[in-house]
Amino acid sequence: MTLAPAFSQALPSLVGVRADYTHETNRELLFQLCAALVREELGDQNTWKQAGGSAIRFAQTAMARGIGDERDKLLTRNVEYHLQVSDALERYGEDAQLGSGRLAVLIECGGSGYLKIGPAIEAMEAEAEGLGAAFYWTLTHALYKVMRLYNHDDALMYEEQMHEYAAEDDEENQGQYEFPEVEKALPECIRKTLKRDFREGKACDRELLRLHRKGRFKDWIGRLRRIEQLARLPLKQSREYLEEGHYDQPPLPCLLVCYKEQDAIVACFDEESQSMLECTSEPALCAIFSPANPGEVRNALRIVARFIQINTELFSLVESIHEGHHADTSFDRSESLLRAA
């Protein structure tokens, strides 16, 4: 074997070249945030020691401590959330400084969770007629208040859109359209209650769930009740900033709810998710605050804490449902991740 002779100019030496840089634009805001995290008891001198003098690392560790290891693991297993605190928000596709000493805490969803609820609905309907539907509708309406879902509603809208496209297209192309037939994929109890009066339905559902709260499905009903309680008050997000941001679309769905594996809802989601990452989406949660104002800091922390609590209850319920029915415990969440086309 012949080795090439050493050549002094071949590779520039990296000795003396810094391998990393830490820069802090608006560093006063970063330090104010660190002080606020200390005041809210999320960080202490040990956190500061571990951070090795880096304010960014201190803030990250303090916030991770606030979320907690168990909750972090549960959420990571089920959904892809990104939490960031920033001094800029998106405007027309570019970052724009918030100014006036303000920061934004954002949670963005990069990959939705997955709930196959069909077997659970079936089991509850076998226990009492209407119980499965009551559980489904109550969960759906509670979650609508706090996060974007992808469920039968979105799939029905997608199907309607497909029919509209087909009607507008040339006659020779119309045979090429495939319609997902979402309504046929719904369990009978959901189909029957799809167009019922909202208020009457809600009252019936509440009564049924109350009757069965100590029965066979008490754990699921208990978790549902906690989700409902947490979602009762709207998360006071800084909507005005999001509306100014001119995002192309609402937040990416945090949860895909289907009835069976690869049913019409999953098929619609697969089609729609191809283009979901092509444009800018609102974050799943946004709260603006001034780190120098303790009231605003507490309010922002409360909003984030409640969102995380709701998600913790939700994904504990999801895991319990999947385990309870040996649904697909081997489900690989990455299969449901939103994919860029």
């Binding site: 071949a10 820069h23 006063e28 002080a35």
Partner: protein, 67 residues
Amino acid sequence: MTREELAALFMAKAGEAPPAANLILARHLQCKESCDLSSAIAEATQRYAGTDRTLLQAPPELLSPLA
């Protein structure tokens, strides 16, 4: 160090002038030309690294011929 002392330390740091290296980096990050240049380099790297269609030519003065 108590919580109050740590919070006071952070508030004192918040009031300090940023280090010179920080200012240079911050100035570059706020400079449109610098940002455009770094985006162009990042885009070019992605475009060329992701395909085998076009290879970046190594500058001849850097590598000696192996033959």
